[in-house]
Structure formats: structure tokens, C-alpha cells
Amino acid sequence: MIQNLVDGILTGSIYSLAAIGMTMVMHMLRFANFSYAELLGIGGYAALVFDRLFAALVPALGVAIEPLTLTWALVLAMLVAMVITGASAVLFDWLVFKRIRAKADALSMVFASFGVALIVRNVITLIFGHKAELYSQDIAFAVVLSRDPMLLVKPDQIFTLVAALVLMLAFHLVLTRTTFGYALRAVAENPNLSQVSGVRLSSMVTAVWMIGGGLSAAAGVFYAMTNHLSPVMGHNFVLPVFAATIVGGIGSVYGAVLGGFIVGIASGLALMVLPSGYTPAMPFVIILAVLLVRPHGLFGEDRDA
């Protein structure tokens, strides 16, 4: 029970990070983006490439920071991956979504996002292969936090949870303490008025893709650190990230954070009653439940169609 709960919180922090960008993009551009979760894959693999590169160039960076399997090379690689992933998100927007936005409806964007996801996922497969990859071959030993009830946690898991919370806090400070953050919130609430107030919409769209890409890359790296990297990673995150977004209410950053934890914990606890084979379907059940009980989520506005 307690183990499931803790595992759920750990997974939830990764969902939360990914859902922050998703909820902003979905709110601002008004479409469900099925290619968004592929950004986790791009981030995870970009970090893999730079991790190996940095460790090869400066061997001292490749040494694990005890008791983690994390190396300074991976820390730097993650920062690079965040930028690269943000840039790819902007690139996809320029190449595909922006052009479709100019002439067609939101559902064409949904359709196109499925196509983009399929392309990205399979290009990753072609480059990196089907098999799973790990950043570190070191064996991460779990620490026994408690014997009764049994509770095992790996140091890497604690690190990723803390790092995810730090990133969320940093973004919270940006939103509440900087005029750039005010502009982001202003655009989310009222795009026309924010334009009149001197905010350039296209720059905000670019900014949101960059932020979303960056946070997703971090989420991808954290997931890969505590599990593994695989080309289907993005596909596996599509539904939980949508669920977190819908639970929180589309457009609500804090809702997305809370939604991520709710989905993670619910999926974790569900393992007590359901075989693990059904885990991928859990977010779907959560989505259905939210749509039935509270269609606009916890913090969402009633803004249909």
C-alpha cells in the first residue's frame, strides 16, 4: 500500500512536469496535441547522446555522484537536452502546426499531431534502435526506508522527485515574480487584451513551446533515470499526460501539477487491485471519471468548443 503510494508520487512528479507544458499549449493553441509526449522521448535521447559525449570528452564528469547513479555529465546533458527539445517543439510548430493553424480548424491540428508523433517516434527508433537504453550501467541499489510496512526507494528516485519539485517551484516563481510570467498568465486568460497591453502573441507561443519542451525533456530524463529509455516512451506518456491535464483543468498550470500527482498515485494504487498489464488503461479510466463528474477539471474554466 505505502509502496504503491510512494511509487505513484514518484511517477506523478514526472507526469506533472510534462503536463505543465501540455496544459499551456492546449489552452493557448486550442487543440489536443498527441505529439506532445514525444518531447519526453526527444529529451531523454538527446540527453543520452550528450551524456556519452561529455563523459568521453571529460572523463571526470562521467563519475557517479554517490549515492546516485547520476553523473555531472548527465546533469549538463539534461540542460542541453532541455534546450534542444524546446527548440524541436518550436520547429514542429513552425513546420506543421503554425501552417495548419493559419488555414484549417483545430481538429486538423489534432490529426496532424498524430502524424507528427508517428514520425518522431519512428525516427527515434531508426536512430537508436528498438532496445531499451540506460544512462548508467551502475546498479542502483534501493534503500530500505521501512521494513514493516516494506518500503524501498532508490536514491535516484528521491533525486528525481526533488529535482522535479525544484523545476516546478522555479516555474512558479517565473509566473508570479517576473513580468514575463505575468505575460504568460495574461495570454492564457485573455489573448486580445494581452496584445493590447503590448504582449506579442507569437513570441508567447514560442516561449510556451520552449518551456513545455524544456520541462518535458527533464521529465523524459527523470523517467529514463528511474526506469529506462525506449522509443515507445512518448507513446506511453500520451494518455497519462492528457489525463493529468484534464484532471487539473485545461489551461491551469497548478491544476496540471496536481493532476499529474493524482494520475500517478491513482495508477500506483490501482496496482493493488489490477494486474500490471492494465496500468496503461488507468489514465483512461481517470479521464472518463473526470468527464462524468467534473468535465472542466479541478481548476478549468467552462470554455467549450
Binding site: V96, G115, L118
Partner: protein
């Protein structure tokens, strides 16, 4: 020679089954503007439904009722319709892209069930089928391939003619009106949510029918048959053919299935041995490029919507006519 004809019959059977599913998709997306993100689940529901009702009993396995083919087939179609009813009821009144998310979720959930609920779906080992209709009389050979092709084409024609009548009838005009302008449609006294639900259910039942034919043909079904790529293939067929046009939908099905088969052959033959494992990925990228490319450069498809166009023309002309009268 027999071999070639036999292969062509096989190809046409598969393409025909795809075309049926694409027609169902066209009713949802092309005519009503409903985005189905998990076509494979409705196809699969028809497939598994048909199999469970018509299959032979096996130990520790639910189903195997050995119902006659037509009843099992109808049961599979109904199962797909039932699933569509539940999903549609929950999501069709909400933001339009919620349907895409929910149907995508249905496909994931459906895949979980096919892989894990062994008592119901056989899990990874799948379900074995039943003797195909008329197989006992004709035998499992060249002639039977042609007979089954005829059966598929007959269903295709029935679905095609039925849908053509439906979309040309006032009903179809209302569906398109809802797609173009929901508020205006509502002001005409139509209930858009109800109409959309009906179109979604009918479309899903047609996909279920395609699934039923598919498993009857193979006399076997497993989670491998229900890979998510099927959804993408069917979308590509519709967008290439031209959403909103049934002729285009059928044409797109044959074109894309042909391209898929040919690219498969070409990769198997010319790609280096080390790349064979990744031939599927190359094909998937091609399908993705077809979808994105069509949306960017030719969203109306090869055969653009005809009825919709005349409908729009008439709507556009209307104000001019009144203007002339006033003048």
C-alpha cells in the same frame, strides 16, 4: 497464373475490408467532423466480438458459442456500436478534441484487455476462429478466396450504397450543417449532440463490420492484429482519398493499401539485412508523412467532397439571390 490471381484476390480482400472501415471513418470525420483517435478499437471490438460469439469452445475460455456466422458477425457489429455509444455519450457534448482523447484512450484500454484478459480474449495467444461461411462446401482453396472476396465486396457495396443514400438524404445535409456551423444547425431545430452520437455509432459499427470480416478471413485474432498503426493507415486512406467523399474513401483505401504492400515488398527485397528489423519503422514514417503532407498541401484529398461543395455553393448563392430580388 493461378498464383497471381490468387494473390490479387487476397490483396483485394484486404483492401476491401480496409475500405469498409474507411467508409465508417468517413461518416464520422468526413461527414460529421468527429475525430476518432482509436479506430482500431472499434475494428477490434467487431473482430473479437465476432470471434467470441462464433468461435469453438475451448477449455478455460469464455465464449466459443459456435453461433452461425451471420449472428456472430451481427453481434460483433453491435458490440462495436455499444462501445461507441458509451464513449460518445460521455464525450460528444464536450470540447471537440475530447472525443479524440477518449477514443485514443479506448484503443489503449482495448489493447490492455486483449493482451491481459486471457479468459475473454485469449491474451497474447489470441483466439482461434470458426469455419468460414461456405468453406465446408467449397473447400479452403483458390475458389474460396474468390468467394470470400465476393462476400467482402458485397458488404462494401451495401455499406457504400447505404452511406451514399444517407448522406444525400436530408439527414446527411443536417450532419454536414452541424459540421460547418453547429449554432445554425441547432437553430433549425436539430439536436446536434444526438445527430453526432448517431453518426458516431453508425460509423463505429461499420468499422466493427470490417473487423468481423477480417477475423473471419484469417480465422484467428490476436493483439498483433490490433496494432495502433491500423488507425493511422485508415486515416491516411481517408485523407488521401478525400474526406467527405465515399468514392474517394474507397479509392484511398486501395491506393494506400497498395502503397503499403509495395513498400513492404521493396524494403524486404532491397533494404540491407541489418535494416530488416526496422522496415516497419520506415513504413510508419511514410504513413506519418502522408498524413502530415496531405494536411499541409492537399487537405481536400485526391477526390474532394462533391455534395458538400454543391451544398456550400447553394448556401453561398442564397444571399445573392435575395439581393437580386430586393433590387
Amino acid at each position: 497464373m493461378i498464383g497471381l490471381i490468387s494473390y490479387i484476390a487476397f490483396f483485394a480482400t484486404m483492401a476491401g475490408i480496409m475500405a469498409i472501415a474507411v467508409l465508417g471513418l468517413n461518416l464520422q470525420w468526413g461527414n460529421t467532423g468527429l475525430f476518432n483517435g482509436g479506430v482500431v478499437a472499434f475494428f477490434g471490438m467487431g473482430a473479437y466480438g465476432t470471434m467470441i460469439l462464433g468461435g469453438r469452445p475451448e477449455a478455460e475460455q469464455f465464449g466459443g458459442f459456435e453461433l452461425p456466422f451471420l449472428i456472430a458477425f451481427a453481434g460483433g457489429i453491435l458490440a462495436a456500436g455499444l462501445m461507441a455509444w458509451v464513449v460518445g455519450k460521455l464525450t460528444l457534448r464536450l470540447r471537440h478534441d475530447y472525443l479524440a482523447i477518449a477514443t485514443f484512450g479506448v484503443a489503449i484500454a482495448f489493447e490492455s484487455v486483449t493482451r491481459n484478459a486471457e479468459w475473454l480474449t485469449g491474451g497474447a495467444k489470441g483466439l482461434r476462429g470458426f469455419p468460414r461461411p461456405f468453406e465446408a462446401a467449397i473447400g479452403d482453396g483458390f475458389t474460396y478466396g474468390l468467394v470470400f472476396l465476393a462476400l467482402v465486396l458485397a458488404v462494401l457495396i451495401v455499406v457504400y450504397v447505404g452511406l451514399e443514400r444517407l448522406v444525400r438524404a436530408p439527414y446527411g445535409r443536417v450532419l454536414r450543417a452541424i459540421r460547418e456551423d453547429e449554432v445554425a444547425a441547432r437553430s433549425l431545430g436539430k439536436d446536434p449532440a444526438r445527430m453526432r452520437l448517431q453518426a458516431f455509432i453508425i460509423g463505429s459499427m461499420i468499422m466493427g463490420a470490417a473487423g468481423g470480416l477480417y477475423v473471419t478471413f484469417y480465422a484467428f485474432v490476436s493483439p498483433q492484429d490490433m496494432a495502433p498503426i491500423l488507425t493511422f493507415q485508415l486515416w491516411a486512406m481517408l485523407i488521401v482519398g478525400g474526406a467527405g467523399n465515399n468514392r474517394g474513401a474507397v479509392l484511398g483505401a486501395f491506393l494506400i493499401w497498395g502503397a503499403w504492400t509495395l513498400s513492404g515488398f521493396a524494403l524486404a527485397r532491397y533494404a540491407p539485412a541489418s535494416m530488416q528489423l526496422y522496415a516497419g519503422s520506415v513504413q510508419y514514417i511514410l504513413i506519418g508523412l502522408v498524413i502530415v503532407g496531405m494536411l499541409l498541401w492537399r487537405p481536400q484529398g485526391l477526390v474532394p467532397e462533391r455534395i458538400g461543395k454543391t451544398f456550400n455553393d447553394r448556401a453561398a448563392k442564397a444571399p445573392t439571390n435575395t439581393g437580386a430580388h430586393q433590387a
